[in-house]
């Protein structure tokens, strides 16, 4: 790129950012307005004064604390369950030879692309049979299923990149296989493990459809469903919804920034490995 093109870059970049961040400007603008300003026609961008009351109101007037708690329980539970299944499977895929391996990996990659909608009809039946309707456990189980295949993919890639010799040395020194995984492989592959944990956590945190289908009681709603129910009951208090959205988005956006590169690599496969 030549220097001459540089002057054109800034206006274009700014234009792109305005388009991509537009709703977040709206979110921030509305979250700091009192109700009288939120419902003024024509609306205005800049609040007359920074109004912080919305942020305290949502904790007292709405069960926001319980939404956060539920989302947290579901996300932690999903992450734990997924990791328990995913670590041995990823190890087997990365380190061991067995006949069905490439078939299974192929299957996982294909399965990853399914919409949960296809199976939600029958999952509903299964969840009901297990007596798990309207429980957080139902969401832990279903979120884990849909995070698991990609988690195995992601983690086995990290395991593969670590030289075998380190573990082999440990095995020769009389470590059991399990010990060599826990003491040697996992610490060395920690960045990959953390990435997989974050990915799973975020996917559970953002999940909406299963929550919508399986959860009926108010006190079991995760954030996505809880905020959705702000809408369509009585009149929407948009300033409260926007303030809640800020609080709900900040943790995931920050976490996401850590894994975004790995996600792109993991999803595009060899296509972007330069």
């Amino acid at each position: 790129m030549k220097r001459a093109g540089l002057y054109a870059v800034y206006p274009l970049v700014i234009f792109v950012l305005i388009i991509l961040l537009f709703p977040f400007f709206v979110m921030v603008s509305t979250a700091f307005k009192p109700v009288s300003e939120v419902y003024s026609n024509p609306p205005h961008w800049i609040p007359r004064e920074l109004y912080f009351r919305n942020f305290s109101d949502i904790w007292y007037k709405y069960p926001l604390g319980s939404y956060f708690k539920n989302s947290f329980i579901i996300s932690v539970g999903t992450t734990l369950l997924t990791m328990i299944f995913c670590i041995p499977a990823a190890y087997a895929v990365a380190r061991l030879r067995f006949r069905a391996k490439s078939f299974l990996m192929y299957l996982f990659l294909v399965v990853q692309m399914f919409s949960p909608i296809i199976v939600v009809i029958s999952l509903f039946k299964i969840v009901a049979l297990l007596g798990l309707l309207d429980t957080l456990l139902s969401l832990v189980l279903t979120n884990s299923v849909f995070a698991l295949t990609f988690a195995i993919w992601l983690l086995s890639g990290y395991f593969r990149n670590i030289p075998k010799e380190i573990e082999e040395a440990a095995l020769i020194d009389g470590c059991s296989r399990i010990q060599s995984i826990i003491r040697i492989l996992l610490p060395v592959a920690m960045p990959g493990v953390v990435t997989t944990i974050i990915y799973t956590f975020i996917s559970a945190w953002n999940e909406f459809m299963f929550a919508l289908t399986f959860i009926t009681s108010m006190d079991k709603r995760p954030l996505t469903l809880g905020l959705y129910n702000f809408i369509g009951r009585w009149t929407v208090q948009w300033q409260y919804l926007m303030a809640s959205a800020i609080l709900a988005l900040i943790p995931v956006v920050i976490l996401f920034m850590f894994i975004e590169r790995e996600l792109v690599q993991g999803l595009a496969g060899g296509a972007v490995k330069g």
Partner: protein, 295 residues
């Protein structure tokens, strides 16, 4: 490599695969089989299989003009969204590939729509689209870009466009980032060699950039096709397929049939059709994924 060692290695491997496989069998493969069964049975409001009904559930849907409208809309939805995401993603990637002050910050900001939770983004957009108090129409009017913007979510046509835009907006960052990664993998020497041969910017783009990006383009477009076709959250939150079913795509329509109308049989039939479509595209994606980089 026959013998005891090999045997034990594969025994260990299968043991390690058991927990994940059993879990997937129960909660993924069994539900798929059950949905296929449901689609060939009369199903009551609780989802129990009542009696074998052959193709009746499929015929029930095929006889509805509305179903075909939804199928057509899903195709249009996917085609437009993927094309726009790919185009804009490529433009943004090219922009971010230029060296300028604040590039890192710009890249980080571009990610945010992808990083935020889709249902929550859709709620924010719903408020943004509000005609009386929303800042989108207000800004369009004030800047003179559009004197009479539509009441976005009230009319079928504009509601479809509004849904489509939010889906596109959510999908742009991934496209931009994946193309950027692809661009950065192109060796600089190729551009220098092209310049020596007197290539213009356009010819460099046409004969160096595009051919070398083709692998990334294929994989990203296929992924995007799957995601776009499956975008339940945006439509459900913004308009729930309304007004009427005018903004439903197959994915939201299936959900509506199952959990609003409680017609599990026809919903299962549509799920099976959707499953077949997705399976086809997924297999193509998996193939191009492996072709680009075997594991």
């Amino acid at each position: 490599m026959r013998g005891k060692f090999w045997r034990t290695e594969s025994v260990v491997a299968y043991l390690f695969m058991v927990p994940a496989s059993v879990f997937l069998l129960v909660f993924m493969f069994y539900p798929i089989v059950y949905v296929i069964l449901m689609s060939f049975f009369r199903v009551n409001k609780l989802g129990d299989l009542m009696s074998f009904s052959g193709w009746a559930n499929f015929r029930f849907m095929f006889d509805k003009p509305e179903f075909w409208q939804v199928v057509l809309r899903s195709c249009i939805w996917t085609a437009i969204a993927v094309a726009v995401k790919t185009g804009l993603g490529l433009v943004i990637a090219l922009l971010l590939n230029v060296e300028f002050l604040g590039k890192k910050l710009a890249r980080t900001l571009v990610i945010i729509p992808w990083a935020s939770s889709v249902p929550i983004s859709a709620m924010i957009w719903q408020w943004t689209y509000n005609n009386d108090f929303g800042l989108l129409n207000h800004t369009l009017r004030v800047l003179g870009i559009w004197k009479n913007p539509p009441i976005w979510l009230a009319e079928p046509g504009s509601a479809f466009a509004a849904n489509l835009w939010v889906d596109i907006w959510c999908g742009i960052p991934f496209m931009a980032l994946v193309f950027l990664a692809g661009l950065q993998a192109i060796p600089q020497e190729l551009y220098e060699a092209a310049e020596v041969d007197g290539a213009t910017s356009w010819t460099k783009f046409r004969f160096v950039t595009l051919p070398l990006l083709s692998g990334v383009l294929t994989v990203a477009t296929l992924l995007s096709t799957l995601w776009t076709f499956n975008d339940f959250n945006v439509i459900y939150v913004l308009t729930a397929g309304g007004p009427g079913t005018s903004t439903d795509i197959l994915i939201t329509y299936i959900y509506k049939y199952a959990f609003q109308y409680l017609r599990f049989g026809p919903a299962a039939a549509m799920a099976v059709i959707t499953f077949a479509i997705l399976l086809t595209v997924s297999i193509i994606y998996a193939r191009s994924y492996f072709k680009e980089g075997a594991f």
